[in-house]
């Protein structure tokens, strides 16, 4: 969640650092915290994450074997890592050989599983195993070059899996969740998130009010932008704060973590004098504390609807403990709350898929400074339309606009350029505007 003296922008990993592991070109995405004892299971092999400590982000690791067992070693860059795209579209390449006569069952392969294990024990690299598999395949030569590439890639994924170590920042975290577990982040797409941050003018020294029912993604992204200045006030209805799990995945410095505060909506809306009393409220319902153990979180095809912990919890605890002092999401002190009430928030972001928009906005808008922008995300148009209508009638805001972001990715390859065949057709809707002085 936070690191003592490391910068969020550090480009080299450290012990206790959070990383996003991209296994086999996005087939699996795992969030992990690095420690000498942390282990990651790839296929049926358990590998230590220790070799990842002190490496630059962006390094690709390959799973190799030695007599001591499987281990991850950095790959020297040679050619583009993302070669899957090239293969996806091979049939367009003019080549129209027909594979149907080939029966690709196990009899076509003369190497047995045992043979392969033997090779491994003798220290064969993944690439060598793949070459051996190809040499012993009765059908490889007859395949189209497209099918050959596909075969090679399949075997590479199995026998020489690659792990790309990415920096866990708003972009990569949002993309990983959107791909593997979108429900957790309310289907908030990366371009939509980026618009929320712009439209709410998130900038240093600002005090940003957020209603984050998307697991802490918005809170973390705002804190990342504030860079240890200003405040993120994460507010909530009722007495139990919303989960902020995802904030822990960012490598936020202590300085930044301290700027993430919580405050219930009723405390924000109450008069200043009632503040003291609310301090006594029980905070035991915090969802976040229950999940503090999750050191490695996986988002993968196999567990599409659950973040599964990979059994390395205890090894990462020391790292978490080390920064306990600066836990993100402390309750806002009465002094800070009073200063918010006195000055007004700089802007407001709402990402609350299950709460009626107008109900929230009606109460929260008065907490903003005049001329403060706001941006509200929703998956349905109607709540935003109703909210916009009411804001217009109430003359509470100007520059009101409902917009729907639209994102399209392209495959750009020689003679094979076109929009990707699959797309996310929906990134939600945003209502944005600027609060004006009440007349």
């Amino acid at each position: 969640m936070c690191s003592e003296n490391k910068e969020a922008s550090s480009r080299i990993t450290w012990e206790g650092c959070s990383v996003l592991l991209d296994i086999n070109d996005g087939d699996r995405l795992v969030f992990a915290r690095l420690s000498p004892a942390a282990k990651l299971k790839i296929g049926n092999k358990n590998c230590s994450l220790k070799p990842l400590i002190g490496c630059p982000f962006g390094t690709v690791f390959q799973l190799d074997s030695s007599s001591d067992g499987p281990f991850l070693s950095p790959l020297q860059p040679k050619g583009n890592v993302n070669n899957t795209e090239e293969i996806k579209d091979g049939q367009l390449n003019g080549e129209v050989r027909d594979n149907r006569s080939l029966i690709d069952n196990n009899t076509a392969q003369s190497l047995t599983g045992e043979d392969i294990e033997d090779m491994r024990r003798q220290g064969a690299k993944g690439d060598e195993i793949i070459e051996a598999l190809i040499a012993n395949s009765a059908t490889f030569e007859k395949k189209t070059s497209f099918s050959q590439e596909k075969y090679r890639l399949k075997k590479q994924k199995k026998y020489a899996p690659k792990v790309l170590m990415r920096r866990p920042v708003a972009r990569s975290i949002c993309e990983a969740y959107f791909k593997k577990y979108p429900l957790k982040i309310g289907f908030l797409r990366v371009d939509t998130l980026s618009l929320l941050l712009s439209m709410a003018n998130v900038s240093s020294n600002s005090d940003i009010l957020v209603v984050d029912m998307v697991g802490g993604l918005v809170t973390g992204a705002v804190a990342e932008r504030l860079g240890g200045t200003g405040y993120v006030c994460n507010t909530y209805l009722g007495q139990a704060p919303y989960s902020m799990d995802i904030v822990r995945i960012f490598n936020l410095s202590d300085e930044i973590c301290k700027r993430i505060l919580r405050c219930s909506m009723s405390d924000l809306l109450s008069q200043k004098e009632s503040q003291q009393q609310n301090l006594l409220n029980d905070e035991s319902q915090s969802n976040d504390q229950m999940n503090v153990l999750g050191g490695i979180e996986e988002i993968s095809h196999s567990s599409e609807n659950a973040i599964s912990d990979l059994g390395a919890e205890n090894t990462t605890l020391p790292a978490l403990r080390a920064c306990k002092a600066a836990k993100a999401g402390e309750k806002a002190s009465p002094e800070v709350v009073d200063s918010w009430k006195e000055n007004g928030f700089s802007s407001l972001i709402i990402a609350a898929p299950d709460v009626d928009t107008w109900t929230l906005v009606k109460d929260l808008l008065p907490l903003l400074s005049n001329s403060a922008p706001f941006a509200i995300y929703h998956q349905y148009l109607q709540p935003l339309a109703t909210c916009m209508h009411n804001l217009q009638l109430g003359k509470m805001a100007i520059g009101l606009q409902i917009s729907e972001p639209w994102l399209r990715e392209y495959q750009v390859l020689p003679s094979r350029t076109h929009p990707c065949m699959q797309m996310s057709a929906f990134g939600g809707y945003i209502l944005s505007g600027t609060k004006i002085c009440s007349s």
């Binding site: 367009l92 350029t417 699959q422």
Partner: protein
């Protein structure tokens, strides 16, 4: 499939007969074409359905299996056919098909040339548009694929409006006998530019060519080639976005600032309060776009013969 013989068109009085082609509908994403045959059965995850139970029922009926499972029996249409046909190639779907038929200005009586035939998805809609007095001449390079397509048109009752030829249109062009006779030409070929000069010869004056290509490089080259003989050159992309409809309940909580209340119970839909401010109905039917969609099928380039 088409109501050429008006005694066969769907009506309250027309019922399923032995030999009819029916579309068995399980779910919107699970359908199957079945030719009704007195002694046959259909077996699926819902149980065993006897064809003999279907005969005499109206199209659109719900029929039951031995285990009480059910499916619907629908009259075939080109749209349903596109969802059930065997994919021998990448096929065109309803958005592209509809646009092509409209943009090629295909109506009753038109003569249309097509290559390749592929799985016959577009051909079926072309045939519907030109029937009963027009004709589709469709060509495929693959003998076997052409044969399968011919069988399909027989099965769907379109064979009197469709002729399937085996021919390498990229290499040989369309047969000379069609020169100047085609109202429209449709190309779905890897190198359409090779067939465009021949297509130009086939078209009547003011007739329209359409070329479908997945990649922009194919489009660029085709557009260069059509420059010389065609005008009104336009390239489009057509997609469909689908919506899901749900009855949603929203938490419509009120914060009164007393620091102790949690979520209030949901309010029922309310009529406008004072000052015209609308309270959003807390339980209502709402639609939103489905998340994943076909992001691209191909580019459609149209051009009109000068």
């Amino acid at each position: 499939m088409l109501a050429i013989d008006s005694t066969r068109k769907i009506s309250f009085n027309r019922s399923i007969s032995n030999g009819d082609l029916v579309i068995v509908y399980e779910r919107h994403d699970n359908m199957k074409a079945v030719t009704v045959s007195e002694g046959s059965v259909l077996q699926n995850r819902f149980g065993v359905f006897k064809h003999s139970d279907w005969i005499g029922k109206s199209f659109g009926s719900k029929v039951f299996s031995n285990k009480g499972g059910f499916v619907y029996l629908l009259a075939p249409t080109p749209e349903l056919w596109t969802l059930v046909l065997s994919h021998r190639t990448q096929i065109l779907y309803i958005a592209d098909i509809s646009f092509v038929v409209m943009y090629l200005e295909i109506v009753t009586g038109c003569v249309v040339l097509e290559s390749g035939t592929g799985s016959g998805s577009l051909t079926t809609s072309l045939a519907r548009a030109v029937a009963p007095t027009g004709h589709i001449y469709t060509f495929d390079f693959h003998e076997q694929r052409a044969g399968s397509a011919r069988d399909d048109f027989e099965r769907t009752g379109l064979s009197s409006f469709v002729s399937v030829g085996v021919r390498d249109i990229q290499g040989e062009g369309f047969p000379q006998e069609f020169a100047g006779l085609a109202d429209a030409v449709f190309l779905d070929l890897p190198q359409p530019w090779l067939a465009i000069p021949s297509a130009a010869k086939m078209l009547k004056h003011d007739g329209i060519l359409c070329s479908f290509s997945p990649c922009i490089e194919q489009v660029q080259r085709s557009c260069e080639t059509v420059q010389s003989n065609f005008s009104d050159i336009r390239t489009f992309e057509v997609l469909l976005r689908t919506y899901e409809v749900r009855e949603e309940k929203m938490e419509s909580s009120q914060v009164n600032g007393n620091g102790s209340n949690g979520s209030l119970p949901c309010k029922r839909r309310q009529c406008s309060g004072g000052a015209g401010v609308l309270t959003y109905p807390t339980s209502s039917v709402m639609a939103r776009p489905c998340g994943e969609a076909r992001g691209h099928t191909g580019y459609l380039t149209f051009a009109r013969l000068k």
